[in-house]
C-alpha cells in the first residue's frame, strides 16, 4: 500500500510538469499580443516604442524555454503574474473568488447526495417496477439537459414566477442557493443511476444470497450489507465530482451571476486577460489532480477490495519495469 501511495504521488510531478507546459504554450501561442492589449486599454492606439520597451521589461523577447523557465519558477513561488484587466495579482484574484466556488461545490454535492442516494436505493429495490421506471425516466431527462438551460429554467420558475430566490446571485446571502440547486438538478441524474447500479450489483453478490438463505430480513441485508459495501464507490464518485465541478461550474455561475472562479475565468476570456486565464487553468488542473489522488487513496483506505486491486496493480507495474 505504501509503495502504491508513493508511486501515485511521484506520478504527480511529471503530470504537473506537462500540465504547466501545455498551459504555458497555449498562452504563448495564442494570437493577440498581451502588450498591445495592455497598452490599448485606454482606447488609444498603442505607441510602438512603449510597446517594445514594455516587452523588454516583461521579458517577452526572450526565447520560449527561457520564458517558460521564468514562469515556472515564479509559479512555484506562488506568483502567477498580474491581471491585465484589473491590475491585481492573479493569485490574489483567484484567492478572492475561489472560496465562493468551493462553497458552491460542496453545497451542490451535499444536496445531490441527499437527493440521489435515497432515490437510487428506491430505484434499485424496486428494480424494473413502476417506481424504478419513473425515477429513471426523470434522471434520464435531467441527464440530457444542458446545464445552462437548466439554470435558466430554474431562474425563471423559482426566481421570476415563484419569487422564492433572487434571480441574481451576486451580493446576496441567499444567492448561493440558485446555482447550488441547479447543479443538484444536473448532477443528481448521473448519481441516481450510479447508486442504483451499485446497489443492484451488490444485491446480486453471493454474500447477499447467503444472508437471504439464512433468513436475515431484507431491510437488514440492504442497509447493513449492500449499502455498506456500495457507499464507498458512491462517495468516490462524489469526490471525483468535487474536483470536476470546481472547474465545471463556470457556465452555471455565469448564468446565475454567482461570484465564483468559473465566472471570473469566463470574464477573463472575454477580456482577453491571458495571465488570469493561465493562472486559473494551472490552479484548477492542479487542484483537480490532487483531489483525484486524495479520493483514490481514501477509497482504497475504506474499501479492502479496491486496496487489493491497487496493490496488485502496483506489484504488476513493478514487475513490468524490471522486465524492461
Amino acid at each position: 500500500m505504501k509503495r502504491y501511495i508513493i508511486k501515485r504521488i511521484a506520478w504527480l510531478i511529471p503530470i504537473m510538469f506537462v500540465i504547466s507546459f501545455i498551459t504555458f504554450s497555449l498562452m504563448y501561442l495564442s494570437p493577440g499580443d498581451p502588450v498591445l492589449i495592455y497598452l490599448s486599454q485606454g482606447g488609444d492606439a498603442p505607441n510602438m516604442e512603449a510597446a517594445a520597451e514594455l516587452r523588454e521589461k516583461l521579458g517577452l523577447n526572450a526565447p520560449f524555454p527561457v520564458q517558460y523557465g521564468r514562469w515556472i519558477i515564479n509559479a512555484l513561488h506562488g506568483e502567477l503574474g498580474t491581471s491585465i484587466f484589473t491590475g491585481n495579482p492573479v493569485a490574489q484574484e483567484i484567492a478572492t473568488y475561489f472560496p465562493n466556488t468551493l462553497k458552491l461545490t460542496f453545497l451542490a454535492v451535499f444536496l445531490t447526495l441527499l437527493v440521489s442516494v435515497p432515490l437510487g436505493i428506491i430505484a434499485a429495490v424496486f428494480e424494473n417496477r413502476i417506481i424504478d421506471y419513473i425515477i429513471r425516466f426523470f434522471a434520464f431527462i435531467n441527464g440530457s439537459m444542458p446545464g445552462f438551460f437548466a439554470a435558466m429554467l430554474m431562474i425563471y420558475v423559482v426566481g421570476v414566477r415563484l419569487r422564492l430566490l433572487p434571480t441574481v446571485s451576486s451580493g446576496n446571502a441567499k444567492g448561493i442557493w440558485m446555482p447550488a440547486l441547479t447543479l443538484t438538478l444536473c448532477l443528481s441524474a448521473g448519481y441516481i443511476r450510479q447508486v442504483r447500479i451499485a446497489i443492484i450489483q451488490e444485491l446480486g453478490e453471493d454474500y447477499v444470497r447467503l444472508k437471504r438463505a439464512r433468513g436475515i430480513r431484507e431491510r437488514t441485508i440492504l442497509f447493513r450489507g449492500a449499502l455498506k459495501s456500495a457507499l464507498p464507490s458512491v462517495f468516490t464518485i462524489a469526490g471525483i465530482n468535487i474536483g470536476r465541478l470546481l472547474g465545471g461550474t463556470a457556465i452555471i455561475e455565469t448564468v446565475c451571476t454567482y461570484q465564483g472562479i468559473g465566472r471570473l475565468a469566463i470574464q477573463s476570456i472575454t477580456n482577453r486577460d491571458y495571465p488570469l486565464m493561465q493562472g486559473y487553468v494551472l490552479v484548477m488542473a492542479g487542484i483537480y489532480v490532487l483531489v483525484n489522488l486524495i479520493v483514490d487513496l481514501l477509497h482504497a483506505a475504506v474499501d479492502p477490495r479496491v486496496r487489493n486491486r491497487f496493490i496488485q496493480e502496483s506489484m504488476k507495474g513493478a514487475g513490468n519495469g524490471k522486465r524492461r
Binding site: W11, P14, I15, V18, I19, I22, L26, M27, L29, S30, P31, G32, F140, I141, G143, S144, M145, P146, G147, F148, F149, M152, L153, I155, Y156, V160, T167, G190, R193, Q194, I197, I200, Q201, G243, R244, L246, G247, G248, A250, I251, T254, V255, A265, I266, I269, T270, M277, Y280, V281, M284, A285, Y288, V289, N292, R324
Partner: protein, 281 residues
C-alpha cells in the same frame, strides 16, 4: 434468451431509423421555415407564440422557429463531426501506441494522462478562447481534449488482443505490423469503441451548445441553438419562450442520441451492459 436478443435488435433498428430521420431532417429543415431567419423586425420584438410566429420572436424580432430550423444542421453536425475526428485520431494514436509498446507507449500515455488531468470544460474553453472562438476553433478545441478517451480505450483493447492466437497467426503468415493492426486488431476492438463513440454524441452536442452559449462557438448572426440561448439570456424574464424552445430542441436531440447509444450498446456489448452503463455518466 434469443427472444430478448431480438428485442434488443429491434430497439436498435428503431433508434437507428429515428437518428437517421433526424439527421436528414436537420439538412432539409430550412425548407420548412416560413420566414427569413436573419430578418429583423423591430415592430415584433419578443412576441409571444402566435399563429404567424409559432414559437414567438426573439429580442430583435426574428422568428424563433425559423432560426431553430436553420440552426439544426449546425448544432447537430458540428458535434457529429467532432465525434468522428476524435474517434479517428484517438483510435489511431491509441492502437499504434499500444501495439508498439515500450518507451513511446509510456510517453504517449503520460501525455494522455496529463490532458485528462485538466478539467475538460476548462481546457476546452481555454483552447477555444486562445484560438479566438468561432465554430471551427471550437471543434478543434473539443477534438484536442476528446481524443484521449478513445486513445486510452483503443490502447487497452489492443494490449489485450495483441497476445491472442489469431494475431500471432497473422504475424507468422507474413503480414506487416501495419497490416496486422489494420486487418486483425482494430476490427476486433471496434465494437467497444463504436459504443463509446455513440455515447459521446449527446455529450458533444451539449458541449458544443455550451461553448456557443458562452459566445465562443458560432458567430452571430448565424443561428445555432447554443447561441440562441445566449441571445435569449437577457429576455428570460419577459419572454421565456425565447429560452424554452432552443433549450427543448437541444434536450430532445440529446435524448434521442443517448437512447440510440444505449440501444447500440445493448446490441454490440451484451455482456458488459451494466459496466458500460456505469461509465457513461
Amino acid at each position: 434468451m434469443e427472444k430478448e436478443g431480438k428485442k434488443k435488435n429491434d430497439r436498435f433498428i428503431i433508434w437507428s431509423w429515428i437518428v437517421g430521420l433526424l439527421l436528414v431532417f436537420c439538412i432539409i429543415a430550412p425548407q420548412f421555415a416560413s420566414h427569413d431567419p436573419y430578418e429583423m423586425n423591430l415592430l415584433a420584438v419578443n412576441q409571444a407564440p402566435s399563429a404567424e410566429f409559432i414559437m414567438g420572436t426573439d429580442y430583435i424580432g426574428r422568428c424563433i422557429l425559423c432560426r431553430l430550423l436553420y440552426g439544426a444542421a449546425r448544432s447537430v453536425y458540428a458535434a457529429l463531426f467532432v465525434v468522428f475526428i476524435t474517434f479517428m485520431i484517438g483510435v489511431a494514436i491509441g492502437s499504434v501506441s499500444g501495439y508498439i509498446g515500450g518507451t513511446a507507449d509510456l510517453c504517449i500515455m503520460r501525455f494522455v494522462d496529463s490532458v485528462q488531468a485538466f478539467p475538460s470544460l476548462v481546457f476546452t474553453i481555454s483552447i477555444a478562447a486562445m484560438l479566438g472562438g468561432g465554430m471551427g476553433n471550437c471543434m478543434i478545441a473539443m477534438s484536442a481534449v476528446g481524443w484521449t478517451t478513445y486513445a486510452r480505450l483503443a490502447r487497452s483493447k489492443v494490449l489485450s488482443l495483441k497476445e491472442r492466437t489469431f494475431v500471432s497467426a497473422a504475424r507468422v503468415s507474413g503480414m506487416s505490423s501495419f497490416q496486422i493492426l489494420i486487418k486483425t486488431i482494430i476490427p476486433n476492438s471496434l465494437p467497444l469503441l463504436i459504443v463509446q463513440g455513440s455515447m459521446h454524441i449527446g455529450n458533444a452536442i451539449l458541449e458544443f451548445a455550451g461553448l456557443s452559449f458562452l459566445g465562443l462557438g458560432t458567430a452571430p448572426p448565424y443561428p445555432e441553438w447554443g447561441n440562441m440561448l445566449n441571445d435569449a439570456k437577457a429576455s428570460l424574464q419577459t419572454a421565456p419562450w425565447t429560452v424554452l424552445f432552443p433549450g427543448l430542441a437541444i434536450l430532445c436531440v440529446v435524448m434521442i442520441m443517448s437512447m440510440f447509444g444505449d440501444s447500440l450498446n445493448e446490441v454490440l456489448n451484451p455482456k458488459k451492459n451494466t459496466a458500460s452503463e456505469k461509465e457513461c455518466k
